[in-house]
């Protein structure tokens, strides 16, 4: 049996990966691996992963990688990028890391237009810790800490991450929401996000809708339906902000 086709930037020795069967992380990281390959930037990447399920990607790629603390990947990557602007810095995290415990870092990195790329997996719950309510948990959705369903009166509505980032960034940012239900589109968003950093434009942010069958207690079909049909009722897939085209240089 031949090994399945993997992105060149993946580290074959650490496959099969450590995520649960049916988890969305593998698909997001596949799209990211292909994006890195197509841009030819494997030798320039510094990849940072958060705590939560995303930490399992610490040895996923053949790129220099740092596993940080919960919510703190954005500042670590910011620190590296500020000291080494020639590197392409990727901060990879979940919705808890980006929208709850590390929200201040996401907001301020975006406001300062840090030239890094933040990729956030949104699976509407805390996976690693056993399925608690996340900022992205849907109204009525049952989790371990909202056992009767999330009540928006008591705990608010799902965080609109890309929309928030778009609201606090200027025209040189790239902001999009993709989904593991459309890996090709997600890869294109990731490529554009990385290209925005390569061009030195500014902050780039991609949220990826993702599945968590283990904590959702869903089979393949229901997992897919939830990502494609239910989550998209609250999280609109598409580009939220694309950098304004640079002015044509009048070089004749």
């Amino acid at each position: 049996m031949t090994a399945p086709k993997m992105p060149k930037s993946w580290r074959a020795e650490t496959k099969p990966h450590k995520f649960c069967p049916g988890c969305g992380h593998g698909l997001i990281l596949k799209a990211l691996g292909e994006a890195i390959d197509e841009l030819g930037i494997q030798d320039r990447i510094v990849f940072g992963c958060d705590i939560g399920c995303s930490l399992l990607s610490w040895d996923f790629f053949n790129v220099d990688s740092v596993q940080t603390h919960h919510g703190r990947t954005t500042p670590v990557m910011t620190g590296i990028k500020r000291a080494r602007p020639d590197r392409i810095c990727i901060a990879y995290m979940g919705d808890g890391g980006g929208y709850a415990i590390g929200a201040q870092h996401l907001v301020n990195a975006a406001s300062r237009n840090e030239k890094i790329t933040v990729i956030l997996a949104n699976n509407s719950n805390y996976g690693m810790t056993g399925g608690q309510m996340a900022p992205t948990t849907l109204p009525g959705m049952k989790t371990e800490t909202s056992p009767y369903g999330r009540d928006p009166e008591a705990t608010g509505f799902p965080t609109q991450g890309p929309e928030m980032v778009a609201a606090i960034t200027r025209e040189n940012a790239y902001v999009a929401r993709g989904s593991v239900a459309n890996v090709r589109q997600l890869k294109n968003y990731l490529k554009k996000a990385l290209q925005n950093q390569i061009d030195g434009n500014g902050f780039s942010f991609v949220e990826a809708l993702s599945g968590c069958p283990t904590n959702w207690s869903t089979n393949a079909k229901d997992t897919w339906n939830f990502i494609e049909k239910t989550m998209t009722q609250y999280f609109k897939v598409g580009e939220v902000k694309t950098p304004a085209p640079k002015e044509e240089k009048s070089n004749g």
Binding site: V66, H69, G79
Partner: protein, 360 residues
């Protein structure tokens, strides 16, 4: 680029200004920081000096971020530091535990203020426990407790070399008095004093394509099993204990025949030194032991001196945080120990001399 300091210069500066000049002289590449009194002027001077010498600065959103961006700067192979105090020191403990676990040679300058809580912006020695042992770890840190502006300059430079040589997070533990007070000292270019700055190397962002030309750098702080973690921490502890004797620093004053031994650190050493002089002039055999490094602690050195004394007096501007380190070091000795604690308040030589005379 022109050297920031040439020749040895006698200056009259605040301690915060001293730290900024020391970092500049130590070829520091970048500072990450967040405002908190009484360390603000370190950033104020740094942001004025840094651009003239091609150095970087980032003001972060909080001290959590300042600590972690500092880790990032160091991981990318740059000499990087941050500075804080009190509640900011609390927030930096998280990143400093990552530095402990991953052997990231960060430098953090702490100018202690009053606590607990917001308390005062003035002075204390109440950040000893936190700076030495903060976080969910084993205190695998190097902590210099300075007492003069000259030491602030010398030890800030030294901290970068010790951090990068031994790869443990290193702290300069000052206080609000040292931060804000103006004092004369000599500043210098380390190279002219024969001090060679230890070379820095990147942990990530190395040359070549990982997986093709070389192995990737895969750095983590999370482990799967008890046995795995136990092995990792045992290695860290063993490495720390091996280097500790090379790092330990202390001073003694009139300890040879001392009957009363004053134990103090940081700026309180000045009151202790002066009290020893006063008491000696009055025929009282007083001495003083001062650890310069609180981590690692000069355990053996203190035991030898303390064993000869009739009485110990532990003095600090905190309610026994330093005394805990002392007791830990002196376990088993039967020399009587008294204490003089003034949490968050300064201590003069006069009150120390009175304390010893009154207590005789």
């Amino acid at each position: 680029m022109e050297k920031p300091i040439t020749g040895e210069k006698r200056v009259f500066m605040t301690g915060n200004e001293v730290v900024a000049w020391a970092a500049l002289a130590a070829d520091v590449d970048i500072m990450y920081g967040y405002p908190i009194t009484p360390q603000n002027e370190i950033m104020h001077y740094w942001t004025r000096l840094a651009p003239k010498h091609g150095r970087g600065f980032l003001q972060t959103e909080d001290e959590i971020s300042a600590g972690f961006t500092t880790c990032g700067g160091v991981l990318s192979g740059k000499r990087a530091f941050t500075a804080t105090s009190g509640p900011g020191n609390i927030l930096m403990q998280e990143s400093m535990t990552m530095a402990e676990m991953m052997r990231i040679p960060t430098v953090l300058v702490v100018q202690q203020r009053g606590g607990p809580s917001t308390a005062t912006v003035i002075y204390s020695q109440q950040e000893v426990t936190m700076t030495c042992y903060g976080g969910n770890g084993e205190g695998l840190r190097i902590v210099y407790s300075t007492g003069t502006h000259q030491e602030l300059f010398d030890y800030t430079i030294k901290s970068f070399n010790i951090a990068w040589k031994y790869r443990f997070p290193t702290f300069v533990l000052g206080d609000g008095y040292q931060a804000k007070m103006r004092e004369s000292l000599h500043i210098y270019d380390p190279a002219e004093k024969g001090i060679k700055m230890v070379e820095t190397t990147p942990f990530v962002g190395l040359a070549g394509t990982p997986g093709v030309d070389r192995e990737p750098a895969h750095l983590r702080n999370t482990y799967n099993t008890e046995e795995e973690l136990y092995a990792v921490v045992s290695d860290l502890v063993a490495a720390y204990e091996k280097i500790a004797p090379e790092i330990v620093e202390y001073q003694t004053f009139e300890t040879e025949d001392a009957e009363v031994l004053i134990l103090a650190h940081g700026i309180v050493t000045r009151a202790a030194q002066a009290a020893v002089k006063t008491l000696r002039a009055q025929g009282i055999k007083a001495g003083h032991f001062r650890p310069v490094t609180l981590r690692p602690f000069p355990t053996q050195e203190l035991r030898e001196v303390a064993a000869k004394a009739k009485k110990l007096l532990v003095v600090e501007s905190a309610q026994g945080q330093f005394q805990k380190l002392v007791k830990d070091a002196l376990y088993g000795l039967s020399v009587p120990m008294e204490s003089y604690f003034k949490p968050g308040q300064g201590i003069t030589s006069e009150e120390l001399a009175d304390q010893i005379k009154g207590g005789k």
